[in-house]
C-alpha cells in the first residue's frame, strides 16, 4: 500500500465537509468509514463526487472506488484519498494534472 497522498487526502476531507448532510466529527481521519461513520449513501456519494470535482478541477466518478471494496463498510476516507491520488497521477505515477 502506498503512503497517503496528503494533497488528495486534504481534497477528500474538504469535499466531505462541503457535501455531508450529517453532523461530522470535529476531525475527519483517514480511518473514518464513509458509509457507517459519516452517513453517506449512494446519493450522498454523488454529492461527494461533485464536491471532489470542484476541488480537483476534473470530473470524477467513484463507482470504481466503491467496486474495489469488499463491502460498503470498508470504504474509508483513506481509501478514497488513495483512489483519488491514483486517478490524479495515472497508473504509471505521472501527474495528469487538472483540466
Amino acid at each position: 500500500m502506498h503512503p497517503l497522498d496528503t494533497t488528495a487526502l486534504s481534497a477528500v476531507i474538504d469535499a466531505i465537509r462541503a457535501s455531508a448532510r450529517h453532523t461530522l466529527p470535529a476531525r475527519i481521519e483517514p480511518q473514518h468509514r464513509v458509509v457507517d461513520d459519516l452517513g453517506y449513501d449512494s446519493l450522498g456519494i454523488v454529492n461527494l463526487s461533485v464536491a471532489l470535482e470542484d476541488q480537483l478541477g476534473r470530473p470524477i466518478l467513484l463507482d470504481g472506488w466503491i467496486g474495489g471494496a469488499a463491502s460498503p463498510s470498508s470504504l474509508t476516507v483513506g481509501s478514497l484519498a488513495q483512489w483519488v491520488a491514483l486517478g490524479t497521477r495515472g497508473e504509471d505515477g505521472v501527474a495528469v494534472g487538472a483540466r
Partner: protein
C-alpha cells in the same frame, strides 16, 4: 434522526420510513435492522401494522447501489444483504395484518418490500410510481423475491412487463395489474389509510390475487428478448426463467439470489451501476440554488408533453392544459411569484424550435424517453423550466449549442455513417445488426424518426464488407470530442444523459463519454480505411487528435 420511526396507537402500529439526510428513502442496513427490531418486539396490543413514508415523493427508492457495487463473488449477495433479507422475512411472517401505504416512488426493492405486506394501498398522484430498476437501469436480476412474488400477485405477463420490460406504473395501473389492492385520493389519504388499517385489523380487508401461469406471455417475452444486445439478453432471459418458475409456484428464491449474484458481478452491470452516478452528477449540475418559485404552468398544444405533465406533476404544481386561448400552441407559460411569466417554445416533434425566448426540445418523448433539452441562452428562464419539468419527473439537460441542439447532434453522429452505408448498398437489417453489436436495442427507424429522418426508401441490397459498427463508434467519439471542446454542454455527464435518451446508448459501456477513451480512439484508428468510407474526414482527424493528445473524460 432514525431511518424508521414507530408509533403505536389504537391497536395499530405505524412504521414510518424517513432516511436521514436524504431527499428519498433508501432501505439501507439501518432501516432494515430497525424494521426487524420493531417486528420482533411487537406488543400484544398491536392488531395491524402500517408501513409508510414521511418523505415527500418517495416510499422507497432503493436499497442503495453501494451493496450492489461491492458484490464480486459467490456468496456476496447473501452476505451483504442478510439484514435486509431478515427484515423482509420478519415483515412477511408478521403475526398480524400488514399494510404498505405507498405514496411516492416505489422502486426496485421498494416494490419487493411492499410485496412482503399482506395488503398494499397506493395514493393516486404524480410521484406514486412503481418501477423495477434492477434490469432496466442496472442489468442485474432483482434479489429480494420479485421474480417469485410478483407473478403470483399480478400474473406472469404483468410481472414480465414490470421486471424485464422496465414499465413504470401509476397507482391506478398498479391497481389494474393487481399489485395494489386499493387506490386512494391524495386529499384525506391519512384518514383513508387509518380506516383501511382498522378494517384489516378486524380481518375484513381482502387482497385481490391473480395467480396463474400463461405460457403465451412467456413465449412472447422470449421472442422479444432474443433480438436484444447480449448484455440485456442474458439478464432478461435469466429473469424470465425465474418469473416462470415463480408463476408455477416453485420456490426459487435461492436461485434468484444466485442469478442476481451472477448478473450483478458482470462488467456490463458494473458499468450500468456507474451510469447511475453519471446521471445523478448531471442532475446535480443541472440544479440551481436560486430559481423563482413557480406558481403555475400553462401548456398549449403539446399533447405528448401535456399528457406526461398531467400524469406526473405533483399536486401542488397547478398546471393548466390546453385550450389556453391567450398563448399559441407549442408554447408554455411558466408563471412565478416573483417576476413576469417565462415564455417557452417547446417542440416535441422531429423539428427543434427556432423561435422563442426560451427554447426547449423533447424529440424522444414519442419513444418513451422522458427527457427535455433546454437551450440555456437565457439562464433564468431555462432554470425555471428545468425546475418545472424535473418536478414532473422529466429529466432535463441545459445546453449551450448556440442555435443547434445536442440531442440532434448525437442522433446525427449515429445516423450519418448509417446513411452512407445505405447509399453504398448496405441493408437496413445489416445496419440494425451493427447497432445491436454496439449494444443499442432501440430500432433504427425509431431513432431516425425522433429527429425527423425517416429511413423509408427502398434500398437495393448488395453484400459488402464494411465495418459499420466501427464507423459508428468513430463518429460518436468524434462527436464527443467536438461537443466537449465547443462548450455546448456544461458538463460531460449532460452529454451522457442526452446520448442515453437519444440513441439508447448502452449502459454496458457506462456512458458515451466513458466510451470515448483515448485508448478506444487509438484502437479505432487501426480501421481508418473502413471508417473513411462511411464518415467525413473530420471524424478521423478528431479521432487522431484524441488518440495522440486527448485525455479520458473521467478519472
Amino acid at each position: 434522526m432514525e431511518s424508521l420511526s414507530a408509533r403505536a396507537e389504537g391497536g395499530l402500529l405505524w412504521l414510518t420510513l424517513d432516511t436521514p439526510g436524504s431527499d428519498v428513502n433508501v432501505f439501507d442496513l439501518r432501516a432494515a435492522r430497525a424494521l426487524e427490531h420493531e417486528l420482533t418486539h411487537l406488543s400484544p396490543d398491536v392488531g395491524a401494522i402500517v408501513l409508510s413514508s414521511t418523505k415527500p415523493g418517495s416510499f422507497v427508492n432503493g436499497v442503495g447501489l453501494m451493496m450492489a457495487g461491492a458484490v464480486k463473488a459467490k456468496g456476496d449477495v447473501a452476505r451483504l444483504t442478510a439484514p435486509v433479507r431478515a427484515a423482509y422475512r420478519a415483515l412477511r411472517d408478521a403475526p398480524v395484518p400488514t399494510i404498505a401505504a405507498i405514496h411516492g416512488n416505489c422502486f426496485g426493492c421498494g416494490v419487493e418490500l411492499a410485496l412482503q405486506c399482506r395488503h398494499r394501498i397506493a395514493v393516486d398522484d404524480g410521484p406514486t410510481c412503481f418501477y423495477m430498476t434492477e434490469i432496466a437501469d442496472y442489468l442485474f436480476v432483482p434479489c429480494f423475491g420479485a421474480t417469485q412474488d410478483l407473478p403470483r400477485v399480478v400474473g406472469l405477463d404483468a410481472a414480465i412487463r414490470l421486471v424485464v420490460g422496465g414499465e413504470r406504473w401509476t397507482a391506478r395501473e398498479a391497481a389494474m395489474a393487481g399489485l395494489v389492492d386499493r387506490v386512494i385520493a391524495p386529499r384525506g389519504c391519512d384518514e383513508a389509510i387509518r380506516a383501511m388499517a382498522l378494517e384489516a385489523r378486524a380481518g375484513r380487508m381482502r387482497s385481490q390475487r391473480v395467480v396463474g401461469f400463461d405460457p403465451e406471455s412467456s413465449r412472447r417475452a422470449r421472442i422479444a428478448t432474443a433480438t436484444l444486445p447480449d448484455a440485456q439478453r442474458g439478464v432478461s432471459e435469466s429473469a424470465i426463467d425465474l418469473l416462470e418458475r415463480g408463476a408455477l409456484g416453485h420456490d426459487a428464491y435461492d436461485d434468484e439470489i444466485v442469478a442476481a449474484e451472477e448478473s450483478v458481478a458482470r462488467p456490463e452491470s458494473k458499468a450500468a451501476q456507474g451510469f447511475f452516478f453519471v446521471r445523478q452528477i448531471a442532475a446535480a449540475r443541472e440544479r440551481r440554488t436560486s430559481v423563482p418559485r413557480v406558481t403555475s404552468l400553462v401548456v398549449a398544444g403539446l399533447p405528448l408533453l401535456a399528457d406526461t405533465l398531467a400524469r406526473n406533476a405533483p399536486m401542488e404544481l397547478p398546471i393548466v392544459l390546453a385550450p389556453a386561448p391567450r398563448i399559441d400552441p407549442g408554447r408554455l407559460l411558466i408563471a412565478s411569484s416573483d417576476g413576469p411569466g417565462v415564455d417557452v417554445v417547446l417542440s416535441t416533434d422531429g423539428k427543434p424550435p427556432t423561435s422563442g425566448r426560451v427554447r426547449a426540445w423533447a424529440p424522444f418523448l414519442a419513444s418513451g424517453s422522458r427527457f427535455v433539452e433546454i437551450d440555456g441562452a437565457r439562464p433564468d428562464g431555462a432554470a425555471a423550466l428545468a425546475l418545472v419539468l424535473q418536478r414532473a419527473g422529466l429529466e432535463t439537460a441545459t445546453t449551450h449549442a448556440r442555435g443547434a441542439f445536442v440531442s440532434e447532434g448525437v442522433v446525427r453522429a449515429l445516423l450519418d455513417p448509417i446513411a452512407r452505408f445505405l447509399k453504398r448498398g448496405g441493408s437496413i437489417g445489416a445496419a440494425q445488426a451493427a447497432l445491436t453489436r454496439l449494444g443499442i436495442a432501440r430500432p433504427l427507424r425509431t431513432i431516425a424518426a425522433s429527429v425527423g429522418r425517416p429511413f423509408g426508401c427502398e434500398i437495393e441490397t448488395t453484400s459488402r464488407d464494411i465495418k459499420l459498427d466501427v464507423a459508428i463508434a468513430a463518429s460518436l467519439i468524434a462527436f464527443v470530442v467536438e461537443t466537449l471542446a465547443s462548450g455546448s454542454v456544461a458538463h460531460p455527464a449532460s452529454l451522457d444523459v442526452i446520448a442515453r435518451h437519444g440513441i439508447d446508448f448502452p449502459l454496458a459501456h457506462r456512458s458515451l463519454t466513458s466510451f470515448a477513451t483515448v485508448a478506444r480512439a487509438g484502437a479505432l484508428l487501426e480501421h481508418a480505411s473502413e471508417i473513411a468510407q462511411l464518415t467525413p474526414l473530420s471524424v478521423l482527424d478528431a479521432l487522431d487528435a484524441h488518440a495522440s493528445g486527448g485525455r479520458d473524460v473521467w478519472s
